[in-house]
Subunit: 228 residues, 6 copies
Amino acid sequence: VNEAAILAARRNKKVIEMAEFGEAVEKIIAGPERKSRVITDEEKQIIAHHEAGHALVMKMMTESDPVHKVSIIARGMAGGYTMTIPEEDHQLRYRKKFKADLVGLLGGRAAEEIVFKDITTGASNDLERATKLARAMVTQYGMSEKLGPLTFGEKDELIFLGREISEQRNYSEEVARQIDSEVRRLIDEAYQTAKRILTTNRAKLTEIAERLVREETIDATAFNSMFA
Amino acid sequence: VNEAAILAARRNKKVIEMAEFGEAVEKIIAGPERKSRVITDEEKQIIAHHEAGHALVMKMMTESDPVHKVSIIARGMAGGYTMTIPEEDHQLRYRKKFKADLVGLLGGRAAEEIVFKDITTGASNDLERATKLARAMVTQYGMSEKLGPLTFGEKDELIFLGREISEQRNYSEEVARQIDSEVRRLIDEAYQTAKRILTTNRAKLTEIAERLVREETIDATAFNSMFA
Amino acid sequence: VNEAAILAARRNKKVIEMAEFGEAVEKIIAGPERKSRVITDEEKQIIAHHEAGHALVMKMMTESDPVHKVSIIARGMAGGYTMTIPEEDHQLRYRKKFKADLVGLLGGRAAEEIVFKDITTGASNDLERATKLARAMVTQYGMSEKLGPLTFGEKDELIFLGREISEQRNYSEEVARQIDSEVRRLIDEAYQTAKRILTTNRAKLTEIAERLVREETIDATAFNSMFA
Amino acid sequence: VNEAAILAARRNKKVIEMAEFGEAVEKIIAGPERKSRVITDEEKQIIAHHEAGHALVMKMMTESDPVHKVSIIARGMAGGYTMTIPEEDHQLRYRKKFKADLVGLLGGRAAEEIVFKDITTGASNDLERATKLARAMVTQYGMSEKLGPLTFGEKDELIFLGREISEQRNYSEEVARQIDSEVRRLIDEAYQTAKRILTTNRAKLTEIAERLVREETIDATAFNSMFA
Amino acid sequence: VNEAAILAARRNKKVIEMAEFGEAVEKIIAGPERKSRVITDEEKQIIAHHEAGHALVMKMMTESDPVHKVSIIARGMAGGYTMTIPEEDHQLRYRKKFKADLVGLLGGRAAEEIVFKDITTGASNDLERATKLARAMVTQYGMSEKLGPLTFGEKDELIFLGREISEQRNYSEEVARQIDSEVRRLIDEAYQTAKRILTTNRAKLTEIAERLVREETIDATAFNSMFA
Amino acid sequence: VNEAAILAARRNKKVIEMAEFGEAVEKIIAGPERKSRVITDEEKQIIAHHEAGHALVMKMMTESDPVHKVSIIARGMAGGYTMTIPEEDHQLRYRKKFKADLVGLLGGRAAEEIVFKDITTGASNDLERATKLARAMVTQYGMSEKLGPLTFGEKDELIFLGREISEQRNYSEEVARQIDSEVRRLIDEAYQTAKRILTTNRAKLTEIAERLVREETIDATAFNSMFA
């Protein structure tokens, strides 16, 4: 609300309208827009295909949250972004939902590989989030059959000189190796799924990317109409 | 008593009645009720079967404490809860009692797997408690024949900058591997037992879950009458 | 002396008598009596057999210190206690004395296993002390032929933020594994000895335990007369 | 700008000209010039070939940024320097660009080995930067097919008593070994490429080095004209 | 000098005589005498043979420093002591001198094993010193052919919150294992040598021990006359 | 200059002459002379051969810096010293120069072994410096073909409570083992070279050592004339 009020004030509006609220939510999630930043045409192509990869994969996975907006306008550290809004506010999450999330996170890197035959640093944050999620599935949620319904590592809430130390290892090298192996398997399966979806829907991937290059942003209605 | 007095005061009662005491105990154990929280029908189904799983397994294990109440009203971080009250206040606990506790803790996850063919994040806290208990059986209580009547790790009472460091490893990787393996075995056996009980009593599981969806809470009398 | 003076003062005595001294020594060693604690009959049986196990094993081992008192009255954290008084104040201790101490410490757990075919948490402190003693034999006193006349680990006298860090590992995983293996062997041998003694003297074990249930405490004279 | 203003002031100029700006940028990147330092003729030969190695390799790799200046005037800790200016300010970097950077970084050491049949300490900083880059490719950017599209290690932003702890290992020895192996492979491949380029263009290497010994510095125009 | 002055003052002497100096030196090295301590006859026998073991072994090793005094009067933590005085103040020490020192340090434990067929805690400090010396030979003085003329571990002079952290490991598990193995070999060889000397000179061992039991202390002259 | 001024002042000189400067440089490098220290004839022999070993090996290695002075006068912790002065102030060092430095550092220990058939603690500091140099060659300068042109370990400039922590391990056990193995190989090769040189020039070794015993110090001119 605060962010929305600030935006409205900047625009000399007396009331805060939905436009301000929507922008405020996006700003908080993805950082402020950085319109001034100059990117090369080649970068624009990469970012457009990267975001198109995320969006297309999410659209194709029945378990994914619906795509709310796709954009190649830089926000914070990211060159572009794909926003989803969960249909309902869930407290519980199924393993298959997490698996779909992994596929969605890896859709950007998969698109780069398929389209440009090379990969960039653009997926770094996606890979970090995917790795953390896969790790949590194995160590916190007992979702790996190989590791079983156990938890691994002691989470510390300790603020040690201003930092939260997140995990204490309390298991053997053998189990550490099994955890690494399962995390790797989850990521590999998700990445293969993402590549298969994008290869199968290669024309649609190009279509979304080209529209992004032209229009910079595609909202939910426009995005869904491309699949009508 | 303090919590009960507060509740009585809120209700303009002159004396603290048993109703207040009962609520106060539950509140302290499971956190305050969160009636306002909206959950989807699907989540209600999951939570109902999860709690029914706990309760049914505990009922079937002769070593378990008797079930006092089953509920799908959220408390604290939990979506629902199953309360037990030990018949007597024991200072000593048998290994078979601990094994029954493990089965009870894993009953919720087992029910999810059997009924929905998928598993959720809802069991995370159960898995953490089960892992800790199994670990304590092996490392503190000498209850693993494979590891023998020894203790492993030095417990520290140290409060280091506000945190209790709970364990110092003072054993080899080889022993760490054996401990992991035994903890895994205890959890696996308990999980198989939970699944076997629930599969054998599948109709009763459905009955309890459906009643929970309808009535939200089942007390000890009502619960036991279902097995009459 | 201080404790004895306090006890005498509480009883309005002008002089501190031996009764006060005896009680004071026990209180310091085992914590104050907790007569008010209610235990179930089943727990009484377990504790009685557990303490009878300690006492009987110690009586049968020629190297053990003589039993001074056996009791099932709770003191501090312990459900009961078996006190010994060394005949002379030794500065040096033989390996065979340490081995007898291990057998004595494990007598309680051994009795539980033999009599109740299950084991409880009651032996937790015994196991911790036995493990520490066996570890010291191997790492501080060079009493393991497999590890040889060396010491392992650097003992630190450091008080780090109020805690004594007791050991720094300065050896390889290979040696850590050998130490674990030797500690395990010492404990296993002592436990087998304890079980053999108790099995051979099963009737005497029952007799001591039953008398403990009846009389709660057996002093040295009464205890020794049972073996006359 | 600040540095340029200082330089202009020292020269009693009223305006800051491009000469000042260019020098300021170089000073910030490579440290102030150290003209007073005396080096032996042998060292001059080594440094000249070392920098010629960097520059020639970068020229030959299509993915490298264009060479802006090559110099054997000492700056900061370095005996000489080779500056590149990226044609455009990229936010995303391709794996093939990183691979070309590795080859460029190792060009100096490769030249030493080829020309002098021995290697010096002069490449120490190059090797450190190449190792860090190869490590980041594997652990942060998911650019190793052997390790997959995952990230490894938790980066800490923590300033602990004035220092940034850069990485917490959260993986097994097995993965640590694979990371080391992949980092090694990336470096080895780049080093082979650098040596192959320099061997193939040995005459050009000598030509650049000799010109550096004569003129100390070669700017972009002069450098490129050598390949006309 | 200070200690000697205190002793002289206590005895109302005007000058500090050699008697005071000698006592002062011993007190500083071995702690004050504890004549009041009561030990059993059995302990007296053990301590006498333990010290006789040290003294006899040192006498028989040509590389050992000459024995200055043997005593079974307790000093500090030790039940007895054997003092040697190096003939000259050496700055350099040969490997063979260190090897002789190891044999001397282990002479006490060896005597216990040979005479009493069991071992006691009395050798704990000897074993610790022997282990440290053997470790220093391997890691600081490069005296192990298997490990070579290298040093291992970084010694820290750091006083961290009042404690000196003595060693940082900077080598692999493989080297740690080799160091342990070499330290073990040095100790084992020294212990075998000590046992061989004592077995060969068993009568002399008994003679020294019996004289210690009778006279409590044997000085250098008396000790050497036993070998005339 | 400061040290030289102090020396001149002590000698009631008005100007600081070269004698003072020379002494000041030596004092800073090797610590003040300790003429008062008494050493045995045997130690004098060892130190003389040890220093002769250093000097002779350095003379024979074409890559070594020229010997400036050899002395058996104790300075600081060292029993004697061999000083070299590099012909020119090099910023870059070749691998072959480092290898020669390793041989020079190990010349003292090698002489002890050849002449006395035993080794002493006198080489401890040489071994530490040789190990550090060999380690730096492998981990900082990429001079091991087995480990490749990489750097290993993160150097920290951190002053943690008054101490510099010099290295953070950021590699696997496998690499740690390879580093240890390469460091060992470099030291072993250098030690073999030192022994070969000294064995081949055994008469010269004796000649230098005997002159050191007679004259205590040999300067560059005298030293080089021995090889005329």
